[in-house]
């Protein structure tokens, strides 16, 4: 199956990845080729087969709810690209 440029741009919007026109064109071809290889799965009968999300079924792993010290504020802000006092600065989200 061939992905159109509009479909590639739609997926890129969902993924929040800015792509150049050249990237849109290249990815359209590459993803279409890869998706074609996935078609073999349609030949496998999975009618009564449950899905597996993780190899070994672990359920409800619990631990005692004990308070621990938090990270130091300076440490947490160490890698922030834009900082103002004790805050991470971001662009306004409302017009």
């Amino acid at each position: 199956m061939a992905l159109t440029a509009d479909e590639v741009r739609y997926i890129a919007k969902l993924a929040r990845v800015a792509l150049s026109d050249a990237e849109v064109e290249r990815l359209g071809g590459e993803l279409s080729t890869i998706l074609d290889h996935f078609q073999v799965l349609n030949d496998i009968d999975t009618a009564d087969v449950p899905p597996t999300a993780q190899s070994f079924d672990l359920h409800n792993v619990e631990r005692p709810d004990v308070t621990r010290p938090s990270f130091d504020l300076e440490d947490v802000l160490l890698n922030a690209p834009r900082r103002e006092d004790a805050y991470i600065r971001v662009r306004g989200v409302l017009d």
């Binding site: 993924a15 899905p51 597996t52």
Partner: protein, 488 residues
């Protein structure tokens, strides 16, 4: 005195305890060698000389006090996907260049507790996505056996530096073959533990239901000691399984007599190079001569669908895991966009490399409305079939034997522009991550002057069986003692 840097970790550990030389002397010599080799290999993104020398001095104090384990004072390199407190951790991505974690990941903490000396952070494919270490924002790593060839990937730096006798031990991660395939292409031992055996806390996440941290070494004994140091459940990773950690050398005296080995023909079909097949067949004869019982009647038909299953599940998980890189809290950040959303999209578009974007797009597509059932859910159902198939095979066999990789090391640039050709490198390793079992790659031959690796797959939490078989095979063959040409 001159220290022989070609020794294994257990030989160094014995010499350190006997007072032949200090960890500081060993560490200084090791740092000199890996710095020099890196002009040819580019195996490291960051060297940690200061940390290493401090750890070496602490290790010497422990050794003097009689408090030394098998790794105390021994140099180890770790993949730059593992968070190291106070030391840049990049995942080989422009997105994380200069990112300094505020905690150690659990496995690095356990290495430090064991007294190991961490000498550097090794190169990889960006976010561990690749099979050649060419997809690194810091340049490709070269194979010490032939510098114009790839070391495999994604843990290519960790494999190359052990193969070149830079360090005796290193850690990698394996999501679809990223420890075993580079181990095979570099002629060393590499082990992917059972899913849940080793903590993933602090490991930069790619595909959470598939990946594990594991050891690279030059023999089974060293791999056993390194696995023993990092294995075990962890309160910080609720997918770790509370199964007791054995002494991983416990089966070293068992030999190969009576070992029930399944050799599935599905792993010997189209796409396997003739020279690799020849080496594997000779290894099978060697195992049989030592008393192993070879069974070629096991089919494993669903495993042949593992590649598409993986390339749906892994990118889907990656698209979710990598959503955290938004240029706001940390990492590469574009600050002159039109809006907050535009800045996030620009940060991701410019911070991620081509293969990472390809997989995020693939995963986003597979999870998107209208395609979820056809791709993601279908892949998870086939995953169940693959897992059942492995369970059935292990009801009557101790190990499954396959080639690790369809070919020996290929040339730099040969496959980097053809994504699907690159994906086929992991044809034989991927089914194991889908099922969750442990597997080891061990050197078993040479072709065109390049190493060939054999994969042994085991039952969940039976890493000891794999290491015992690898040790026994290493007693009657010397493929693991072959060394690449010395580098400058």
């Amino acid at each position: 005195m001159t220290i022989d840097l070609d020794l294994t970790a257990h030989e160094h550990a014995a010499n350190l305890r006997a007072g032949e030389y200090t960890s500081r002397a060993l560490t200084e010599a090791t740092l000199a060698r890996i710095h020099a080799q890196d002009a040819s290999l580019n195996a490291y993104i960051t060297f940690t000389d200061d940390l290493a020398l401090a750890e070496a001095d602490a290790a010497d104090a422990r050794i003097a006090a009689g408090d030394a384990g098998p790794l105390t004072g021994v140099p180890v390199a770790v993949k730059d996907l593992l968070s190291t407190k106070g030391i840049q951790t990049t995942a080989a991505s422009k997105m994380l260049e200069g990112f300094v974690p505020i905690v150690d990941c659990t496995v690095v903490q356990r290495l430090k507790d064991a007294g190991a000396v961490i000498v550097g952070k090794t190169n990889l494919d960006e976010f561990a996505m690749g099979s050649s270490t060419e997809h690194s924002a810091f340049g490709a790593t070269h194979n010490p056996w032939a510098l114009d060839r790839v070391p495999g990937g994604s843990s290519g730096g960790s494999a190359a530096t052990v193969a070149s006798r830079g360090v005796p031990l290193s850690l990698g991660t394996d999501t679809g073959g990223s420890i075993r395939q580079p181990a095979a292409l570099c002629g060393i031992v590499g082990l992917k533990p059972t899913y849940g055996r080793v903590s993933r806390f602090g490991v930069v996440a790619f595909a959470s239901s598939l990946e594990q941290v594991g050891p690279f070494a030059r023999d089974a004994e060293d791999a056993a000691h390194l696995l023993g140091a990092i294995a075990g459940d962890d309160v910080m990773d609720s997918t770790t399984v509370p199964v007791p950690v054995p002494d991983y050398t416990e089966r070293f005296d068992r030999g190969l007599q009576g070992l029930r080995v399944a050799v599935p023909e599905a792993f010997f079909g189209d796409g396997l190079d003739a020279d690799v097949r020849e080496s594997i067949e000779r290894a099978i004869e060697d195992l049989a001569a030592q008393g192993a019982i070879i069974d070629r009647s096991v089919a494993l038909p669903a495993a042949s669908a593992a590649l598409p299953v993986y390339y749906i599940i892994a990118p889907s998980e990656a698209s979710a895991n990598l959503a955290r890189y938004d240029g706001v809290k940390y990492g590469f950040s574009v600050t002159d966009g039109r809006s907050v959303e535009d800045e996030m999209a620009q940060s991701r578009g410019r911070g991620f490399g081509a293969e990472v974007k390809r997989r995020i797009m693939l995963g986003t597509y597979a999870l998107s409305a209208g395609y979820y059932d056809a791709y993601y859910l279908k892949a998870q159902r086939v995953r169940t079939l693959i897992k059942r198939e492995f369970e059935a095979a292990f009801a009557t066999h101790d190990v499954i034997l396959t080639p690790t990789s369809p070919s020996v090391a290929f040339r730099l640039g040969e496959k980097v522009d053809d994504p699907y050709a690159m994906y086929l490198n992991d044809l034989y390793t991927i089914p194991v991550n889908i099922a969750g079992n442990p597997a080891i790659s061990i050197p078993c031959g040479m072709s065109q002057g390049l190493p060939v690796g054999m994969q042994l797959i085991g039952r969940p939490f039976e890493e000891s069986t794999l290491l015992g078989a690898a040790h026994a095979y290493g007693q009657v063959t010397d493929w693991h003692r072959q060394a690449p040409p010395a580098l400058g």
